[in-house]
Subunit: 230 residues, 2 copies
């Protein structure tokens, strides 16, 4: 399973940068077509579209890759993962097929609108993030939990690019509140590795880079292929 999951992640990172289609088939044997949420939709602001276009330009020489992003895992990946890691006592197959990726479970424009770009040489992940009206904390600002979520997702994908891993620690300094509906840039980089541990540093800045909203560090641990998760 780990091999197929890792292969899938490599596929996500290696998705075609110059001809991004709205959908793709994860495996030729599967009939379900998954929508790619890492592409522009009508809710995207001008700021987000401009940044997206800039990064797509950077992808042209192959130094950066856009990541595809889906709401649900394909059936084969689900079954593999379930067999390998999940205790059947607490998760029935029917439930598994209805579960959705947290960050992609909102209606268009209301939750997390984002796209990630990966630079393999720099071991760096950039996430362009626009917060929707359903991510509110105190009135007018993004919820601290939603900020933690986009940090977990971006640092997580930065770690995943090196192997299937799960979050062990998140340490987040909230320096300035992020205005709701604004676009920000999440910047992550592998800072160190020790055995199965991957250390990732992270910052969230305004589009003009003048405001530092958040700084964070994350620790991920690669999964042990011989152990169940629980």
């Amino acid at each position: 399973m780990l091999r197929s999951c890792a292969a899938r992640l490599r596929t996500l990172v290696a998705a075609p940068a110059r001809r991004p289609g709205p959908v793709w088939r994860l495996f030729s044997s599967e009939k379900v077509v998954h929508k790619d949420y890492g592409l522009p939709n009508p809710s995207w602001s001008k700021d987000l579209r401009l940044l997206f276009d800039q990064f797509m330009k950077k992808c042209e020489d192959g130094s950066w890759k856009r990541l595809s992003s889906y709401r649900q895992n394909p059936t084969r990946v689900l079954k593999d993962f379930q067999t390998r890691f999940v205790d059947p006592r607490f998760m029935k197959e029917e439930q598994m097929s209805k579960a959705q990726q947290f960050t992609r479970s909102f209606e268009e424009g209301l939750g997390f609108e984002y796209v990630m770009f990966y630079n393999k040489v720099e071991r760096r992940m950039v996430c362009l993030f626009q917060s929707g009206l359903h991510l509110q904390g105190v009135p007018g600002y993004v919820h601290g939990g939603a900020i933690a979520t986009i940090i977990d997702v971006t640092t997580g994908m930065c770690a995943y690019a090196e192997g299937v891993a799960m979050t062990a620690n998140l340490n987040i300094d909230y320096k300035k509140p992020i205005p709701l509906c604004s676009v920000v840039v999440v910047n992550c980089q592998i800072s160190n590795t020790e055995g199965r541990k991957l250390f990732v540093s992270c910052s969230i800045q305004s589009v003009d880079e003048k405001t530092l909203y958040t700084e964070a560090t994350a620790l991920f641990v690669k999964l042990d292929p011989d152990k169940r998760l629980t």
Copy 2:
């Protein structure tokens, strides 16, 4: 504004424990009736209902109080907050009225199902939390960002009970993954205060207290009544 907001928080904490109605009016002058999400609904599992009943029993002598919970802030609180803290350049009034509290923006049973109880003497907040199918991270388990969110919400309310404050730091150790759709108990307590700083410790355990899923510390800073947030 700070006074009215703080008063509202006190009202939330002081909501009647023995006769919880499904709705209540935040201010007598307002016609909008808000649904209280901190009460049982058909998606609640037997585990969550049993724990809820146990804590409602503890409320009978007044040592614990159940907190009400809403999807949107009442119009007057919104206008007060907007006038006082929010820069009108990035947040229009129409948007503000459509914004929703992140943790209450899911359909019944699919996101965060939770209720909080507060013990003033012990400066302690307990959150009974059931995760829905739209909070998935790796297949079958709750997303690290969703866990960070329920920690932020619970430690935040623990801090809010002492004054209007915002998250400055969250440091989370993910010890074991939380199975999707399970019920867990989030336990928070003020551990220290220094001027406007409030330090809160937090743990997430299984209902039988045999499994420690997560440990965290949080730092909140009380808002300065003479400063705008941005």
